[in-house]
């Protein structure tokens, strides 16, 4: 009897169960983030005051964090390529680079939020700031969750074990990147 986990060997829908589960998570997340961003857009279109409030967000910080996430997506997909070639050690190194990107993103976010709160812009300041902290905060939680999961994936990949997980966490990480790609213009550019 095989000792390999069912996530890599069993398939009920034409693709491995583990990958199916990740896509199921992602399509569920589309509804969560989509509902939130859709609500933001309808409020933004209806209320002129959002424009004045959005003027206080710093586009350059948002752009820097976008660059960080795009670059971390690159290292994640290169890790997937290395894992497919059977090079677990290289995949692990690239995942650690992705984790470094995640923590860079969160650190920048921490400084940004501290500055904004010091300037009096809190989650209760106005509807715009409620959306801002909820959407960016929910996204940041996904970044943190991804970073923690990647630590486990990197430690097993370094031993050339469970290399299929490199692709699975990569798919999740790219989705987190895609969400930010839409959050950036909504919160930082459209003023």
């Amino acid at each position: 009897m095989s000792a390999r986990p069912i996530a890599t060997t069993r398939t009920t829908a034409g693709l491995a169960t583990g990958k199916l589960a990740v896509w199921w998570v992602i399509v569920s997340e589309i509804v969560i983030f989509g509902g939130l961003l859709g609500s933001y857009i309808m409020h933004r279109l209806a209320h002129d005051s959002f424009s004045a409030q959005a003027a206080h967000t710093n586009m350059w910080i948002g752009a820097f964090n976008t660059l960080v996430l795009l670059s971390s997506s690159l290292s994640a997909v290169l890790a997937h390529q290395a894992a497919e070639a059977g090079d677990g050690r290289k995949a692990a190194r690239l995942i650690w680079a992705t984790i470094a990107g995640a923590f860079t993103f969160l650190t920048v976010k921490g400084f940004e939020w501290t500055s904004e709160i010091h300037h009096g812009f809190t989650i209760t300041s106005s509807t715009f700031w409620s959306f801002y902290y909820t959407a960016a905060g929910l996204h940041a939680l996904h970044v943190l969750a991804g970073a923690i999961i990647m630590m486990f994936v990197a430690s097993s990949a370094a031993k050339n074990l469970e290399l299929h997980r490199v692709e699975l966490i990569g798919i999740y990480w790219h989705f987190v990147d895609v969400v930010w790609i839409f959050l950036f213009p909504l919160l930082y550019i459209a003023k």
């Binding site: 034409g14 609500s39 795009l70 290169l78």
Partner: protein
């Protein structure tokens, strides 16, 4: 195991080149508002965001070589999102509708601009 064979079959594109294109598009997004035209800003911000998301989904998430039901599942969720928007937007964006109104919006432009819902009547 068929899934593994399927995954191993595809050839990897030049990921660094795709990343470079994404960075150029990011620069376009940032430069857009500098022209001072609302339409240009909307295109460079949201049009470019759509292109960036497509590039990431296609080249990094490999959605184009995934089983067909995966992109269909994603599209279904996006349609649900649009349905939600179409259903909820009138209540959020309009001052009044069938058997309901927002009196404070009708009397005070400031309340309307701020999105205050005080005094809303069912």
């Amino acid at each position: 195991m068929a899934a593994h064979a399927h995954a191993a079959e595809h050839t990897h594109p030049n990921y660094v080149k795709i990343w470079a294109i994404l960075v150029v598009l990011l620069c376009v997004s940032v430069a857009g508002p500098m022209f001072g035209h609302k339409i240009v800003t909307l295109i460079t911000a949201f049009g470019v965001a759509g292109v960036k998301a497509y590039l990431v989904a296609k080249n990094f998430m490999h959605i184009n070589i995934e089983k067909r039901f995966i992109p269909y599942l994603v599209i279904t969720m996006l349609v649900f999102m649009l349905l939600f928007f179409a259903g909820a937007a009138p209540d959020v964006m309009k001052k009044e509708g069938t058997q309901w109104e927002k009196p404070s919006w009708k009397t005070s432009p400031a309340a309307s601009a701020a999105g205050s819902h005080e005094g809303a009547h069912p």
